[in-house]
Structures are given as structure tokens and as C-alpha cells.
């Protein structure tokens, strides 16, 4: 059957869709809840790239797509597109966070301490085969620390700034708030637009480019000032009383990366990447790229335009996969040129 079937196109796609979604016929709401609870970091990755905080919907997207990440992100983004905007939340500050994990590579210890939180950083990467036999997992009792970490320790950037080590740093946050989902992005991008792009960038893409910088391409010499995983209250202003109230809690994370400044003044530059959900790979790669993109004479693959354009999950995966579509007219046109070039006379004779 031809790819462009006569009279069969619509039927064909319905059949294809039914085959792909067959596995969903046995899915129950409890299964979606299972995904949400047990694959929470995957759910976080989908929410981060989908730029929509909705763990249940992200879990559904993953189940529906059979685990295809790019597909799940597309589902979430398309859904987001249809949702009305009802309010802008208050900016997330350190004070509104409940930090669950905060580590810094810059100092051995710092105010608020090195707070490991839940992490597999120091565990042995062995498969827990007992789980396949139905044996219960034996875990050591988690001990309460005699001095619990503060609810949210301040970042180390403030301390460095007081010491005069942080290059240029604005005194107060910008009030400009671009929205890359509403306004076309042009380069050089406003700071807010760059951070938004990084927040929802494709993790693998950021990792590849960030890694190239870390190993030496226009290398930045990064030091992680902090990686922080937290919950934040989503604070809205009540439309009638004007009071602040919490619309709920969301998982958020951010990293701040330090590197020496590339200019006549000595000091440090601070790179940053934040995202919805918890995704340490994205945070560190993104933070390093935030610094790399501003390095003078940086490698062409690390320029802002290159990084932000090519780490867009929905665009990249869509375009990549679109090559599957029929291209036979363009191909015919190309073949025509190649066939005629083979028989063509050298240019001088053609034009005389």
C-alpha cells in the first residue's frame, strides 16, 4: 500500500493510532498514580520540559505515550496551550521555599550546612534484584539529626556579594517579565527569556552542550555554589481581600554556578538555572551554559542563539521526526538537478 493511499488516508491513521494506544485499554487510574509516585523524577523532567506543573497530568502523559519522553512533553505543552491564565504568582524567594536538599561544592561548610537530602549520589549502583522476587526492601532507619537544617538556608551568592567578589549583580530583581510562550524570542535574549528557555530546555541537549564546555570547549572552570531541591508555596493575591494565600505547593529546583569573570575586573560571575520539578543534570548543565553563553569569543555551538534554539524539546524532536513525512516532491526536484548536472556542459559553454 502506498504511503499516500488513495482514499485510505484517514482509515490508515485511525488504525495506526489504535495500534499505538492498545496498551492503554488496561490502564487504571491507580497505574497513573503509581507512575506519579514511583517515577517522580521522570514526572519532574516532563513537567520541567513541558513548563507546566501538573504531576498527575505528566504521569498520564507518560502512560499515554508509552514512556516516550518527547511525546509526553508535547502532550503537556499542547494541553498547557489551551489553559487560561488566571493570575501571576508571587516571585519565588528563598523565604517561600522549604528546602529538602542543598549542597555546595564551593565551601566545605557554609551557613545552613551541607544538607544532603534524598540522593543516590553516594550509593552503590547495583540493581535491587530482590524487588523482582517480591522481597521487601531492607533500608536503614533514617536518623533525625540533632540540629535539623533550617527551613531554607540562604544561598552563598549573597555572602560572596558582600565580600565584593561577585561581578555585577543587580540590587533588586528585574520587574520585566517576558513570556517566551507569548512573545517571539529574538537574540540577544532578555535575561528573563533566557532563563525561561533554560528552565524548559531539553535535558539531554543541555547536557551534551554543557558537557562540551565542561571538558574544554571555551571552558568556563565552574564551581557549583549550590544545587537546591525544594518545595515552594505558590502564592497568589486574593482578588477581593488582597491577602496572600497559597494555591498549593510545587517542587522546584535551582543551581547557581560560579566562574571567574572574563574581563579586566577580577571577580566571579554567577550562572543560574532553575526549573519546575527536580532535575539536577539540567540544573548544572544549564547553569554552566548560562555562563558559557556570555563568554567572549565562545565556541559557535555555545552561543546563546545556538544553545537555546537547539535545546527546545518540542521543536527539536518534532523536526527530527518530521523527516519521516513524505518528501517525494522535494526529492524529485533534487533528483532532477542531480541527473541534469551529470550531463551538463562546463559553465563556459552553457553561457556563450
Amino acid at each position: 500500500m502506498a504511503y499516500v493511499a488513495a482514499r485510505g488516508g484517514e482509515q490508515a491513521i485511525q488504525n495506526a493510532e489504535a495500534l499505538a494506544l492498545r496498551h492503554l485499554q488496561t490502564v487504571r487510574p491507580e497505574d497513573i498514580a503509581w507512575v506519579e509516585e514511583h517515577l517522580s523524577l521522570l514526572v519532574d523532567r516532563v513537567m520541567g520540559e513541558g513548563s507546566l506543573y501538573a504531576p498527575q497530568l505528566a504521569a498520564l502523559a507518560l502512560a499515554q505515550s508509552g514512556g516516550d519522553l518527547a511525546e509526553a512533553v508535547l502532550l503537556l505543552r499542547a494541553y498547557r496551550s489551551t489553559q487560561p491564565r488566571i493570575a501571576l504568582a508571587q516571585p519565588v524567594t528563598d523565604a517561600s521555599l522549604t528546602t529538602v536538599r542543598r549542597v555546595s561544592a564551593a565551601f566545605k561548610d557554609l551557613p545552613g550546612g551541607q544538607h544532603l537530602g534524598p540522593t543516590l549520589d553516594y550509593s552503590h549502583r547495583t540493581l535491587r534484584l530482590e524487588l523482582l522476587n517480591g522481597t521487601a526492601l531492607q533500608l536503614p532507619q533514617v536518623q533525625q539529626h540533632p540540629h535539623p537544617a533550617p527551613r531554607s538556608a540562604p544561598g552563598i551568592a549573597g555572602w560572596l556579594r558582600q565580600d565584593g567578589l561577585l561581578g555585577t549583580w543587580p540590587d533588586s530583581p528585574s520587574t520585566e517579565l517576558p513570556d517566551i510562550t507569548r512573545d517571539p524570542l529574538t537574540y540577544p535574549a532578555p535575561r528573563g527569556a533566557r532563563l525561561q528557555s533554560l528552565a524548559r530546555a531539553e535535558t539531554g541537549g543541555l547536557l551534551a552542550l554543557g558537557y562540551s564546555n565542561m571538558v574544554g570547549y571555551s571552558g568556563v572552570h565552574p564551581t557549583v555554589a549550590e544545587v537546591r531541591l525544594a518545595h515552594t508555596e505558590v502564592l497568589l493575591t486574593h482578588p477581593v481581600t488582597g491577602a496572600l494565600f497559597s494555591a498549593g505547593r510545587a517542587r522546584v529546583s535551582r543551581a547557581e554556578i560560579l566562574a571567574p569573570l572574563h574581563s579586566e575586573t577580577t571577580g566571579l560571575s554567577l550562572g543560574m538555572c532553575g526549573t519546575l520539578g527536580w532535575n539536577e543534570t539540567k540544573l548544572i548543565a544549564g547553569g554552566v551554559l548560562d555562563l558559557a553563553m556570555d563568554t567572549p569569543n565562545v565556541h559557535p555551538a555555545l552561543k546563546e542563539e545556538f544553545v537555546l534554539n537547539h535545546t527546545e524539546s518540542v521543536e527539536a524532536s518534532g523536526f527530527c521526526l518530521h523527516f519521516k513525512l513524505p518528501h517525494y516532491v522535494t526529492f524529485a526536484s533534487e533528483l532532477d538537478r542531480l541527473r541534469s548536472a551529470g550531463t551538463a556542459l562546463p559553465s563556459e559553454e552553457v553561457t556563450s
Binding site: Y3, V4, A5, A6, R7, G8, G9, A12, I13, L74, L75, A78, R80, S81, T82, P84, I86, I180, T181, R182, D183, P184, T186, Y187, L236, V240, A247, E305, N309, V314, E315, S317, G318, F319, C320, L321, H322, L325, P326, H327, Y328, V329, T330, F331, A332, S333, E334, L335, D336, R337, L338, R339, S340, A341, A344, L345, P346, S347, V350, T351
Partner: protein
């Protein structure tokens, strides 16, 4: 008051899926595009329920201009029944209830990927072309910000240089589809990957052509009666695809852009425009068929027996 009182459950989609804000923005961008032929207008392209690269740009334009009295035709590679065209048509129909057709003369809006219908389009018809790479500089200068400066300076030397290189090294210009065109003597634009044979249909046309790239977030337009001329040296005639002697196996036609279909023992040809083919076949069978005028062909083009 609860948070739930501030919002409402979303059960239905807005007419034509996009919210009114999104549609208004696309229309404003379209007006700018029509006012400055060939100029790429940036717009905040929305995500829609299909993947980027699969026609989301064309789709957003169609959704923004479609109305209750519209009649929609959707084709891909010239075929109404291509799976991608069928999917897009299905989506718009679902979101608007619009009447759909395979007849290029009856349609008020034609969304197309990579072809322009064979029958000459008339005043009042709108052709929406799906564009993968809106910038003619894409292959020679991939940086979008640099390309924007080149357009602003009307500095197209790099595009002309590519023609020069092809002629010097290969004796022929090698651009297949998507050959850059000069619009109203000012901006050079990417006409989308339509074959060179279709470029004549953009020049001094009765209809309006809108071109949109969803992933690249830019749209542009060719208003009716606008000059659209392929970039070519004054002394090297522009070549369209060479299909002399090709005969459509189904209709017997010896004109129109054809697909080459490899066979075990050779090859056959068939008209790419399935709506047009359908009409020719009806005519052949003695059934009624209103067939539109043949588009004007290239002037003084050797080898353009099409």
C-alpha cells in the same frame, strides 16, 4: 472564596482550537506580512496537538483565518489523501465543523505542504503554505540574528554566490525545491519546498499566499499581483524540473507536475495533484467536471514543456 471559584473546568475547545488572543496575534502578524511582502514576521507560535515540523505553522494560520463560510482543502505533496493532510484536515474539521473539499476551485482556504494546485487559483482564495525553514539563508548562514541583518541590508550576495558556485563547479544551479525568490524587488524569501515548476504560480497571482513556519515562529505573505521571481542570473535561464515526455499513467495527461513511481521493470508517472487528477479522470469517463484554467507557465524557459 475558594481557588476553584476563580476558574472553571475546561470542557470544550474554543472555536478553531486556539484562544482568541492567539488568533488575534496571528492575524495581526498576517496583516504586517501582507503589508510588507516577503518579510518574515516573528510571532509567538503556539503549541498545538501535533508535533512541530508537521505543519503547526500552517495550521495556526488556517485556524486563525477560517470561518463558518469557509471551505477547506488540505494537501500534502499535492495529495488530499496523504496521511499528514488527512490528519490536519481532520483536526480543523473537528475544531470548527468547517466544510472540507478536495476541489481546488471550490476551496476558499487551501493549506498545502510542498505543492501548489495545478488549477489557477482566483481572487478571494487563500493558499496557506507550510514552511520548514523560513529563511532563504538557512543553508548558507544558519545564524538567525545574522540573517536578519543581511535581510535588513538587502545583502543577498551569499545567495547569489551559491548560484555562482553551482554553475562554476557543476554547470547547473543545484537548488531543487525551495529555490529562493525575490518578492516585489525587495526581500528574498524561501517559497517553501515547492518544486521550481510551482514558482510561476506565486508570481502576479490572483490569490493571496500566506506562508508560515510554526517551529521557527515566523510567517510571511505574498499579496495578489506581486512580483515573485526566482533568483537567477540575467544570462543563465532559470530551469524548472525536466519532465518532457512524461505521461500520466492514469489520465494520459502530458502536462502538470508528476510523481515518478519506481517499478520493478522501469518506472511510471502519475500527476501529483490528486484533486486535479480526479477531475481529469471524471472527464475521461464522460462525467461532469469543472476543471480550472491551467496556470500560466514559465516564459522563455528551455526544457519547460510543462
Amino acid at each position: 472564596m475558594k481557588l476553584a471559584d476563580l476558574t472553571h473546568a475546561r470542557t470544550d475547545y474554543n472555536y478553531a482550537f486556539l484562544d482568541e488572543h492567539a488568533k488575534r496575534e496571528v492575524r495581526r502578524a498576517l496583516l504586517k506580512a501582507v503589508a510588507v511582502p516577503g518579510y518574515q514576521v516573528p510571532y509567538a507560535s503556539r503549541e498545538v496537538p501535533m508535533a512541530r515540523g508537521w505543519g503547526t505553522g500552517g495550521l495556526q494560520v488556517t485556524l486563525s483565518i477560517i470561518g463558518e463560510s469557509s471551505r477547506l482543502k488540505v494537501i500534502d505533496q499535492g495529495a488530499d489523501d496523504s496521511v499528514n493532510a488527512a490528519n490536519l484536515r481532520r483536526f480543523v474539521a473537528r475544531m470548527t465543523g468547517v466544510q472540507t473539499t478536495t476541489d481546488a476551485l471550490e476551496a476558499t482556504v487551501i493549506q498545502s505542504r510542498h505543492r501548489i494546485p495545478e488549477e489557477e487559483l482566483q481572487t478571494g482564495q487563500v493558499l496557506v503554505l507550510q514552511v520548514p525553514l523560513p529563511d532563504p539563508f538557512s543553508y548558507v548562514e544558519p545564524s538567525r540574528s545574522l540573517a536578519r541583518e543581511l535581510h535588513a541590508d538587502s545583502d543577498y550576495a551569499l545567495l547569489w554566490l551559491r548560484l555562482y558556485e553551482d554553475l562554476t563547479l557543476h554547470g547547473e544551479v543545484l537548488t531543487g525545491a525551495d529555490h529562493p525568490v525575490l518578492v516585489q524587488g525587495h526581500y528574498v524569501m524561501a517559497p517553501s519546498p515547492i518544486p521550481r515548476y510551482d514558482l510561476a504560480a506565486l508570481h502576479q497571482a490572483h490569490h493571496l499566499t500566506l506562508l508560515s513556519a510554526g517551529r521557527e515562529k515566523r510567517l510571511y505573505a505574498v499579496p495578489p499581483y506581486t512580483d515573485v521571481l526566482p533568483l537567477a542570473f540575467d544570462d543563465v535561464p532559470f530551469q524548472i524540473e525536466r519532465q518532457q515526455g512524461w505521461v500520466c499513467q492514469q489520465s494520459g495527461a502530458q502536462h502538470g507536475f508528476m510523481n515518478e513511481v519506481p517499478q520493478e521493470d522501469g518506472r511510471s508517472y502519475v500527476l501529483s495533484d490528486t484533486g486535479y487528477l480526479e477531475k481529469l479522470l471524471r472527464q475521461k469517463r464522460g462525467e461532469p467536471a469543472i476543471i480550472g484554467a491551467r496556470r500560466k507557465s514559465q516564459q522563455d524557459q528551455p526544457g519547460s514543456a510543462l
